[in-house]
Subunit: 470 residues, 2 copies
C-alpha cells in the first residue's frame, strides 16, 4: 500500500514577508484557496491505494498542521514532530519506521510540503511507474523534465532504461552554471532533481543502514523514544539530536546502486521565490498578478499582493514584486527577490521579530492580533475556535478587559465561571486566575484591552493547559 509522507520541515524565509518562521510558505495559500501543504496532502490522497498521509514537521508547527488537515477533512496517518531539524534523510527514516509499524510491506511516496504540481494526471502516471519499480526494489526519484536551463536546481542524468518509464540514475549533479545547464538541455537525458521519492520503506532503511548507519541508528532510537501527545508523535529529542544532519540525496541516493529515476513533466514548481510564484501564477495581459485591493496604472510584469483592509496603488512600474502584510511591505525588483534573505538577516541581527511572526499569531486555540499598542496598554483581537480553551492563567503585571463581539465565551475569573455573549464585557483584575473557553459551535471573537506596566507575552503563568503547555 502507498503511504504518502509529507516533509513539512522547512521554515523558509524566501517568501518573506508573507512567510514567517512560525508560518512558513507550505502553510500559506499562495495559489488558490488551499495552502501548499493542503494541496500536497490532497494530491497524495487522490492517488490509487493511497493511505492516510504521514506528516513530518517541526514541533512549533504542529497545531497548524493539525488544523490544516482538519480544514480539508483528510484523516491523518500520523504527525511526527521533529524536536530539531536534521535534514531529509533522518526525517524520512522516522516516517519509514512509522509506516512499517502499521504495514510491513509499506511503500512510501515522499513529497515536500511546499511544491506545486499543475498536472495531477501526469504526476499520477509517474507515481504508478515509480511504484512498479519500487516493487522491484528500486529507490525511485522523480526527475522533472526541464523547460529551461534553471541554475537553481540540481540535475539527474539518466542511465539505462528500466522498463518503459524509468531509468537507472547515471549521476546526480550539483546546481550548474548557466552554460552547463544549457548544455544539459541540449544533450538531453537530464532532469531536475525534484526532491520527491518513491520506495519501499524497508528498502530505504536497508540502504540507509548500508550507507549512513549513524542516521539509521539515531532515527531508530529517536522513534523508539517517541511519545504520543494528543494527535502527535513527539520524537525523542536526545536520540534525534545525535543523528548526523544529511539529505537523502547525499546520504542514500548518490551512494546506492538501487537509484532509479522516473522523468515527468507535470507543471512542477517549488515556489522557491516570489519571482517563481509570479511565473506560475495566472497573469493579466500586462503580465501582472494582482491579489487583494490593488489599483494599478501603467504597471507591467509585476506581482502585487495587498493585505486585508489595505490597498496598494502602483504607477508606471514594471518587473516589481510588492507584497504587503499587516506589519511589513516588500518592494523588490523581480530579478532580485533572492536577496530577501539579506532583509531577513538584518531583521535577525537587529533582534526584531518580523521574520518570526506575523502580527496575527496562531495558537492551538485560535489566534490573536495586536491591533494597537501604547505606552501602558495593548489592544488585541482574539478568536477562540469552537471547543477550544486558552490555558488557566494569571498575569503579574497586567489587567485585562474583555468585550465579546461574536459567539458565546465561557469565562473563568478566580472562583466564578460565567457566560459572556455578544456586546457583554468583563474585567480581569491583575493577578486573577482566569480562563477563556468556547463551548459553542461558532468562533468566539473578542477584543481584549490590556492595561499595565509590562505587557510582554512572557508575563503569563499557566496553571492548566489542554495543549500541554503548562
Amino acid at each position: 500500500m502507498l503511504h504518502p509522507v509529507i516533509l513539512s520541515g522547512g521554515s523558509g524565509t524566501r517568501l518573506w514577508p508573507l512567510s514567517r518562521q512560525n508560518q512558513p510558505k507550505q502553510f500559506l495559500a499562495l495559489v488558490g484557496d488551499h495552502s501548499l501543504y493542503q494541496e500536497t496532502v490532497l494530491r497524495a490522497s487522490r492517488l490509487p491505494d493511497a493511505q492516510a498521509p504521514v506528516t513530518v514537521c517541526a514541533d512549533e508547527h504542529r497545531f497548524m498542521v493539525g488544523e490544516q488537515l482538519q480544514g480539508i477533512g483528510v484523516p491523518s496517518g500520523g504527525i511526527l514532530l521533529e524536536p530539531l531539524a536534521r535534514s531529509t534523510a533522518p526525517a524520512i527514516a522516522l516516517a519509514a519506521l512509522h509506516v512499517l509499524a502499521k504495514d510491513a510491506d509499506a511503500t512510501m511516496l515522499v513529497m515536500p510540503a511546499d511544491h506545486l504540481i499543475d498536472d495531477a494526471d501526469a504526476f499520477g502516471a509517474a507515481v504508478e511507474a515509480a511504484a512498479a519499480l519500487a516493487r522491484e526494489g528500486w529507490l525511485v526519484t522523480f526527475g522533472i523534465t526541464p523547460d529551461y536551463p534553471e541554475t537553481g536546481y540540481g540535475y539527474i542524468l539518466r542511465g539505462a532504461a528500466l522498463g518503459e518509464a524509468g531509468y537507472r540514475v547515471a549521476r546526480f549533479v550539483e546546481k550548474p552554471d548557466l552554460a552547463t545547464a544549457e548544455r544539459y538541455l541540449a544533450e538531453g537525458g537530464y532532469a531536475w532533481n525534484s526532491g520527491m521519492f518513491l520506495f519501499r520503506a524497508q528498502a530505504y532503511l536497508d540502504e540507509l543502514g548500508r550507507h549512513a548507519p549513524a542516521i539509521l541508528g539515531a532515527a531508530r532510537a529517536a522513534y523508539a523514544a517517541a511519545e504520543a501527545d494528543l494527535d502527535f508523535t513527539r520524537i525523542g529529542r536526545e536520540a534525534f539530536a545525535a543523528s548526523p544532519s544529511d539529505s537523502i540525496d547525499y546520504a542514500v541516493m548518490e551512494k546506492t546502486d538501487r537509484a532509479a529515476v522516473v522523468p515527468v513533466s507535470c507543471g512542477w514548481s517549488d515556489i522557491g521565490s516570489w519571482s517563481s510564484l509570479w511565473s506560475v501564477a495566472e497573469r493579466d495581459d500586462g503580465g501582472n498578478r494582482y491579489e487583494g485591493d490593488v489599483i494599478a496604472v501603467d504597471t507591467r510584469d509585476s506581482l502585487v499582493r495587498a493585505s486585508e483592509r489595505r490597498m496598494i496603488a502602483t504607477i508606471g512600474v514594471e518587473d516589481l514584486v510588492i507584497v504587503d502584510t499587516a506589519d511589513a511591505t516588500l518592494v523588490a525588483r523581480k530579478d532580485r527577490v533572492q536577496d530577501v534573505k539579506a532583509v531577513v538577516d538584518r531583521l535577525k541581527a537587529a533582534g526584531r521579530s518580523e521574520h518570526l511572526f506575523h502580527r496575527k499569531v496562531y495558537r492551538p486555540w485560535g489566534s490573536y492580533d495586536s491591533i494597537a499598542v501604547g505606552p501602558r496598554f495593548q489592544v488585541k483581537r482574539i478568536v477562540v475556535k469552537p471547543g477550544a480553551a486558552l490555558s488557566l492563567q494569571k498575569h503579574a503585571h497586567r489587567a485585562e478587559h474583555w468585550i465579546v463581539v461574536s459567539g458565546v465565551a465561557e469565562v473563568t475569573c478566580d472562583d466564578k465561571v460565567f457566560e459572556l455573549r455578544e456586546n457583554q464585557s468583563t474585567y480581569i483584575p491583575l493577578g486573577s486566575v482566569h480562563r477563556l473557553r468556547n463551548r459553542g459551535s461558532e468562533p468566539v471573537e473578542l477584543i481584549e484591552v490590556q492595561s499595565g506596566s509590562y505587557l510582554g507575552e512572557d508575563d503569563i503563568v499557566r496553571l492548566e493547559d489542554v495543549y500541554g503547555r503548562s
Copy 2:
C-alpha cells in the same frame, strides 16, 4: 504695517496617499517637524513689522488651522472660512477687507500655505524690496530665479527696472514646453511665477474693482455677511457663491499696469509632487530619502516613507517613490508621480474614501482611528484633547464600551456623570444620551468597542456641541 495672509484653500491630492482631502499637504509635516502651513506662518511672523497672520481656508479645515497655530504659539490675525472654493482673487479680496478693517494703510504679504523656502534671509530681503515698491502703489509678485527649465510653472518676463531690486512686469506666460523653457533660461529676464504677492490692501481692491468688479462686489457682500464663530470668521455663503472663480493672476496681475516683479533666489519649492519633495529633501549617498522604519538593500534615488508600526523593505529598486499610510501604499516611478491623479480619480469613481480621509480622522476635540472592523463591531482608538468634549449624543443602532487607557475622562451617560480613569471601563447602552469630556491637562486616550447592526459615522444625533455641530 505688514499683514501676512496665508492662503490655505488647497485640497491637493498630488501627495496622495499622505495628503487627503480632509488633511491636505499644507497641514502635513513633510520636511521637518512642522507642517508646511506652520512653516509658512513662522516664516511670515519673523519678518520685521509683521502683524498676526490672517489665514483663508476651507471650512472643513478650520480646526486643523486653529490647532496648528496653537501648536506653534503664534496668535491669529483671523481665520477666514471660505464656504466654497472660488480660487485666489476672491480669497485675497476677503483678506484685504479683513486687514483694512483693522488698519486702513495695511500692506499684505500673500503666501500660499504649501510652499517651502530654504533661505529665509534672501526671502526677507525680497520682501523688504517689495514693500518699498508697494508703498509706491505697485502690486508686487515674487519671481523665482529659475534653476532649470521647469515646464510645470508659469513664467514672468521682467520689463523696465523699478529701483534696485524690482522691475515692471513685461509679460506673464503660461507653462511652457521644454524647448521654450530652455529658451527662457538662455535669454534671461524670466522668473517662475511663485504665487506670492505683496501690495497695499487698498491698491489690490482698487485694481480688482477696475478689472474684476463682480469679484470685488461678491467679496464685499460675502465679508459683510460674515459671522464670528469661535475664533473663526465664517464668510457668507450665498454672496461668496455668487463670485466668479478666478485666480489673482488672471483677474488682476495680467491686466493691471501696476504689476511689478521682485526676482528672488531663496530655495523656493511648491512641493507639487512626490518627486519635487524628493528633490528638495536631504538624501543619502545613494540618492535616497528614507522616513520611518525602512530596510533598504541596493536601493537608489528613491523616496521611501514608512508609516507608524509598519516597516518597508526594498531590494534592488531605483527611482521609486514608496509612500505608506495606515490604509494605502503608493509605489510609483519617480517620473510618473503626477499620475497619482489617475489613482485618485479611480477612488472617486468607485465611491471610495481613501482620497478623502485617513484611517485616523481629526476632529475638533481630538481624533479617532478605526483599528478593527468586523461584521457587527468596530474598534476605535480615541484621543480627546485637554479641555475638549465630544458632543452630547446618542446612537440608534449601536452600543459602546469605553476603556480608558490614559488620562481621566468625564463620562455622561443619561442622568449620571462620573469620572473614568486609566484601566476603568463603562458601557453606553443603545439609545443612551452620552458625552465624553476631558477636564484634565493630559490627553484622554480610550478604546471604544462599538457593537450593533449598523456602525456608520452618520448614526449620531447631536443634542449639544461646543463646536457648533449640533
